[in-house]
Symmetry: T
Amino acid sequence: MTVVKSTLPEADRKIVGEALQHTLTDLIDLSLVAKQVHWNVIGARFRSVHLQLDDVVTTARTYADTVAERAAAIGVTPDGRAGTVSKSSRIDEVPDGWIKDEKVVAVMIAALDAVIRRVRQGIGTTEKPDPVSQDILIGLAAELEKHHWMFQAENV
Amino acid sequence: MTVVKSTLPEADRKIVGEALQHTLTDLIDLSLVAKQVHWNVIGARFRSVHLQLDDVVTTARTYADTVAERAAAIGVTPDGRAGTVSKSSRIDEVPDGWIKDEKVVAVMIAALDAVIRRVRQGIGTTEKPDPVSQDILIGLAAELEKHHWMFQAENV
Amino acid sequence: MTVVKSTLPEADRKIVGEALQHTLTDLIDLSLVAKQVHWNVIGARFRSVHLQLDDVVTTARTYADTVAERAAAIGVTPDGRAGTVSKSSRIDEVPDGWIKDEKVVAVMIAALDAVIRRVRQGIGTTEKPDPVSQDILIGLAAELEKHHWMFQAENV
Amino acid sequence: MTVVKSTLPEADRKIVGEALQHTLTDLIDLSLVAKQVHWNVIGARFRSVHLQLDDVVTTARTYADTVAERAAAIGVTPDGRAGTVSKSSRIDEVPDGWIKDEKVVAVMIAALDAVIRRVRQGIGTTEKPDPVSQDILIGLAAELEKHHWMFQAENV
Amino acid sequence: MTVVKSTLPEADRKIVGEALQHTLTDLIDLSLVAKQVHWNVIGARFRSVHLQLDDVVTTARTYADTVAERAAAIGVTPDGRAGTVSKSSRIDEVPDGWIKDEKVVAVMIAALDAVIRRVRQGIGTTEKPDPVSQDILIGLAAELEKHHWMFQAENV
Amino acid sequence: MTVVKSTLPEADRKIVGEALQHTLTDLIDLSLVAKQVHWNVIGARFRSVHLQLDDVVTTARTYADTVAERAAAIGVTPDGRAGTVSKSSRIDEVPDGWIKDEKVVAVMIAALDAVIRRVRQGIGTTEKPDPVSQDILIGLAAELEKHHWMFQAENV
Amino acid sequence: MTVVKSTLPEADRKIVGEALQHTLTDLIDLSLVAKQVHWNVIGARFRSVHLQLDDVVTTARTYADTVAERAAAIGVTPDGRAGTVSKSSRIDEVPDGWIKDEKVVAVMIAALDAVIRRVRQGIGTTEKPDPVSQDILIGLAAELEKHHWMFQAENV
Amino acid sequence: MTVVKSTLPEADRKIVGEALQHTLTDLIDLSLVAKQVHWNVIGARFRSVHLQLDDVVTTARTYADTVAERAAAIGVTPDGRAGTVSKSSRIDEVPDGWIKDEKVVAVMIAALDAVIRRVRQGIGTTEKPDPVSQDILIGLAAELEKHHWMFQAENV
Amino acid sequence: MTVVKSTLPEADRKIVGEALQHTLTDLIDLSLVAKQVHWNVIGARFRSVHLQLDDVVTTARTYADTVAERAAAIGVTPDGRAGTVSKSSRIDEVPDGWIKDEKVVAVMIAALDAVIRRVRQGIGTTEKPDPVSQDILIGLAAELEKHHWMFQAENV
Amino acid sequence: MTVVKSTLPEADRKIVGEALQHTLTDLIDLSLVAKQVHWNVIGARFRSVHLQLDDVVTTARTYADTVAERAAAIGVTPDGRAGTVSKSSRIDEVPDGWIKDEKVVAVMIAALDAVIRRVRQGIGTTEKPDPVSQDILIGLAAELEKHHWMFQAENV
Amino acid sequence: MTVVKSTLPEADRKIVGEALQHTLTDLIDLSLVAKQVHWNVIGARFRSVHLQLDDVVTTARTYADTVAERAAAIGVTPDGRAGTVSKSSRIDEVPDGWIKDEKVVAVMIAALDAVIRRVRQGIGTTEKPDPVSQDILIGLAAELEKHHWMFQAENV
Amino acid sequence: MTVVKSTLPEADRKIVGEALQHTLTDLIDLSLVAKQVHWNVIGARFRSVHLQLDDVVTTARTYADTVAERAAAIGVTPDGRAGTVSKSSRIDEVPDGWIKDEKVVAVMIAALDAVIRRVRQGIGTTEKPDPVSQDILIGLAAELEKHHWMFQAENV
């Protein structure tokens, strides 16, 4: 059933759709991981890290919505279900239970690293077929790399 | 490692912790399911249902946070990771791809039904050991049953 | 026609539905009575009482909506029509025309008294069948008894 | 007891007072009717109609207050008690229980029709004796006829 | 020098200009009188009357601006200078020094009475030549008569 | 097809509908003209005039909506399409390209003059058949004549 | 007369100026078309479509301003006059009079389609000469294609 | 009648009371003068000067209130009646009718000059008897001298 | 003198009044203790702890007001005077002077612990006599235990 | 331990520190006293006085914070503990239980009187050693004397 | 010391870092220059230019922050110290003292011209190595060229 | 050219002008230094210090504007150009590159120390010639010494 007629030719639609779908699952997992450590963090820096993690959650949720609706707009159905996220995310699973603040910072640096790498690939593959989707991924990379810097800066 | 000294005796803490953990995974899945159909819904009622689903997402996200932080407050570490959600949620997986509006309404009635049932159980089991946690679940049930009514009312 | 499937067993649904319906008619009448004397109050305390009455109207209207939608949520159709209110309210009819400020205060103490009495009964009858509805009535009682104190305090 | 000295001669005061009193009872009933169907509406258009009805409630409550205070300002005591509303309103009583969305729309068209007719008469009778009250009724007619159009437009 | 070309014929412009100029001086004086007693009021009702007077000041200042700019818009230069106000206002001068609350209420009833009388005349004289200016005076009369009622209601 | 049953008799509906339709096309054109010179104005007064023009755009857009919805409310379908505006507007076409600030002021005085003239006629023709529509045109005339004064005042 | 010195070489300025001018006329017409059907839509989905159309109007008006001011910024005078819009827009004229909701949705899909096609061309032609203007067109395409998806999704 | 017991000895109370009373009449007149020219200004700078004058009105009204209530707080009854202002203000009367923008600027420089001179004297005389009143006059001088600079700067 | 007629029987009123009075003195002292260390905290975590303490102050002040007004509402006069607080609070006196951040965290854990213990007792004793007061104490316990967790989490 | 290096010489630091510490204890007690009578006031003026007292609480709390942080800023550790307040405040203890409105007003006049007297002394002693602290006390005196006037004015 | 691991290869990091550093010093100087003339401007257009300059300051400060944090995010330490700005900025030093409005406009056109030229170069050099940084420079160019147009338009 | 006529005699004007000019350059440099370390700070306290520094920037920018406009108001042209700041600031240059959090705190203590010292001198020299300028410096000293305390408190 063709519900939404894409403004992109079929081949381009497929390339772009894939990049958006990868980004979507990574971002949903990023939001779940950041919440998980937001709740379980302990240590002297508790309050500071607890608040900082919610800034990451805001980025992840906002862009997950933007990216999923961009997929729909080019005629690709986004898939953000728990099972899909659990299978496809590139972020390593975080350990269960209380987790020390410096460990949380390390976990977030690694998680952001994984997401940024796929977003950077998406920026490359979408450039020609769809500069509109590329522009969204560029804006996302700017936010993710800012969080990335901040966690690194406090990990010295 | 005892990080947070519970104000509840050990047996009570366990009962309440379990009720909160069940609610947490159900609520995270509810937020993912509602977003999934928010993006993929089609049909004449598209805009109305699309907006209504974001009200469910707001309830689910707000209470997931409240419930997880309540668990931490009684010394229980909450687990909201993708894998845990995927394995433990009581909500049936929604189908992939575009989905007609009346089907979306049916999906949401079933999903809310499943979550409400466990929350109602939690209200029962937490009453004696921790009226504070019970009060949170009661507030949550009120919101979920309101959404439940609304989807049923438009499904006639 | 079963439109909204109740999460309560039939017997409980009936008890709770009755408590909510009684509260609804009392609250609508309370809002009408408070407005009536808001418009017709005279005397040196005019401005103070005039403003205070709108606080009561806000409580009454907000909770009338909450209570009616709670009824719908458990599958009971609320009835807030003028004829029903006029017949079922427990508040005595206020006299027509200009009304002195100290008389207004006495009228409001009596009106709040009548409504509180039925809400207190509702708290008792709903406790077992539906703690969710009970919680709403408890919150309402807190607001009504606060207004009740204030009018009494200025009636000395 | 002459509490408020009217700026209008006695004959004019009576004509205008009657027009305002009629409008007041109609508007209070309109707000009760709109809330009644706001709570009991069912059908595919549930959410849209549910929200639309609260816009009518806002118009009815705001103007009821304006009209009643205008009556007081010209020395006429307004009467908005449940019994008076129930006896004097020109709106037909709505049926009890769940009510289908297209039926709700028809109910609202008829209710608005009845209120508008009396307001239009009031515009005529108040023109000479009190252009200030007339101006309020004109503003009210504009809002009511806008709601009237909208319900008609969705009833095609 | 013809700066602003009036949309009204010369005779109409003069009639309307006069009505607006009278209203302007009365309103400026009303704002000064209300502030004077706002500062000097004493007695048990101090706080209530003190606040109520600022509502009158708001009406007077807002409409003074509207009326003066309406005059300019029809090519008539408004005159709101202290000397002009002092000479032309219809409000009796209020006594100097501390002033008891019930006396303040009486002063305001008389002041509002004087202003309303001239505004009512203006409504009559502007009807034919300029319904736009008339509409402004009608809106002003509604606010002034509302204040008038309130002060009378608390003077019983 | 009778979609919206008018509250006006047929003859009145036609007179009023025409006045509203004329106003609509004039207001849409006024908004386009004001934007055109907002973008192309040059000269020492650039910033001041640039900002002032957006105040006119706000008036024109807000009242275009009000007037069009008023037409619908009395059962007349408004026509605000580009072709209709281009053919029916009474405002002279403004020249293309950069335009000096004093020329912009002159253009706006003329444009407002043209619109005001038709609105003033509409106030006359709608008085008897529909005081509700007349009241909207009166409010619009007040805003337009205020802009008219301001541009004239700075053109001396 | 060279008023604004372009930061672009003449050839580039011409290419970019043309793309912006085309976009401007299309966006103004889109805003007029969306308002036209916003006022004339009828049918069961009236309220939902009526509100959705104002979202399109907001996009169209906001970007028309951005695009026209971008043209000025590179030294090109934008032309948004009614005659120009009427002659140059790529959107088909919509029919006069009441229009059924599903027809409105179809009209909007076609209108958005036409605008998107030219914007997509503009993204191509401006890439080399002016990435700043291109970035604006990319942001606009993202919004237009989102509206496009939504109307298609509710047209199934 | 001693209503408000001053925290100052009688001699100090008199000196400070006089300084505050002088400031009060000057500030009220400043607000009337600024409004007078706000309404009657003409010339190319109309809009800019028109808006700037309302900033002066805000300063004058805010500090008039502060200064009058400070007088009351030290047991001195403030006098801000039209007759008193007209007799005691140090500001020269402004001419009637339209007034060119550069003339308005000159009028305001002179008016501010007169007010500042008396405020500066008040700062000197209140220093010893009441640093609290002095602090208010210092804050006022800062605002007045800022307006003074701005009008001078645009008068070059 | 019976000022406020309690809705509770005398025995219940006494039990509930005592629980509320205990909570009141503890909460006032909690607010004073939290402010004391908010001002005197030193150490690397200064800013984080300084801000966190104001969140505790907000909880303590808000609930002190709610609890005291609840006492009044059931006819019990609350006592929140400095002497009473100093004598009856269960919180240990904090040391004078600068205090290191980790010591502050320990002080707050102990203070919250003491308050929570009495609130938990109050939840038990008020359950039967007054579910309305109990509900307030439950809400308070939820907030206090959340602060308690946070200070413990950062003390690892 | 020298934590904060004072910008004042030791002798000055001591004088200023004492003035600030006295003010701090008085202000905390003022906030507790005002809350005590805010909860226990009865009589016809209940609502007016109840609200007015919260304005005093706001002043007292805001300046307590400012004054305590000023002490810290000059290297003096502030002491605002319940025991210290109870021992050092200059305000007489208020009676327990319900208290009539006119008695409340008298209590507040006396309490403000006591605090103002010490603040006035502080203004004198801090002038030379620290004009920065003096400026804070001057601002505080202005607010306290304003409350003082208002309570006196309503006590006539 | 490698504090922040760049997501860019070393050669790209160096090119992009340089472009960002140049932009940073130019933007800080632009903010200082705009403030300098904001304070020293004189002439008939004083107020208009004074306000317009603060819009430039807002752009300059906002983007200076964005650009510096982007540098940090790619592992390059930004340098915005006064000495660096003074030595590296491409903007010519503005003259000291009062400066006429038309001269201010010319100064700003030249300053913006200088900054835009380097930003345009940066857009070119960053395109390949880092589209994320390029996107920030493109957004900045859009704002700077808008200010550039406005100052030119008022310089005719 | 005498543009702004000073309200101060020439000798006073010179003394005060110098104090303001010194403060201006120090404040601009303070804002640049605080931003420099805001971007380059690293270490476990990164986030807390990063946010705290922006509070200093806000103080510095707000008072720089106030101080510069105060200079203009007394007829002295302020000089805030990069070269002037670089040459005249009393703050030591901060090192380039990443900088550890405890080092940042030390840098800020020293920078604030230097600025406070000159501001304190300015408070002394301006007291006689211009209490208005002195009052601004006093307010500034209060804010700077508060930041000074906070950085010292976290440096223990």
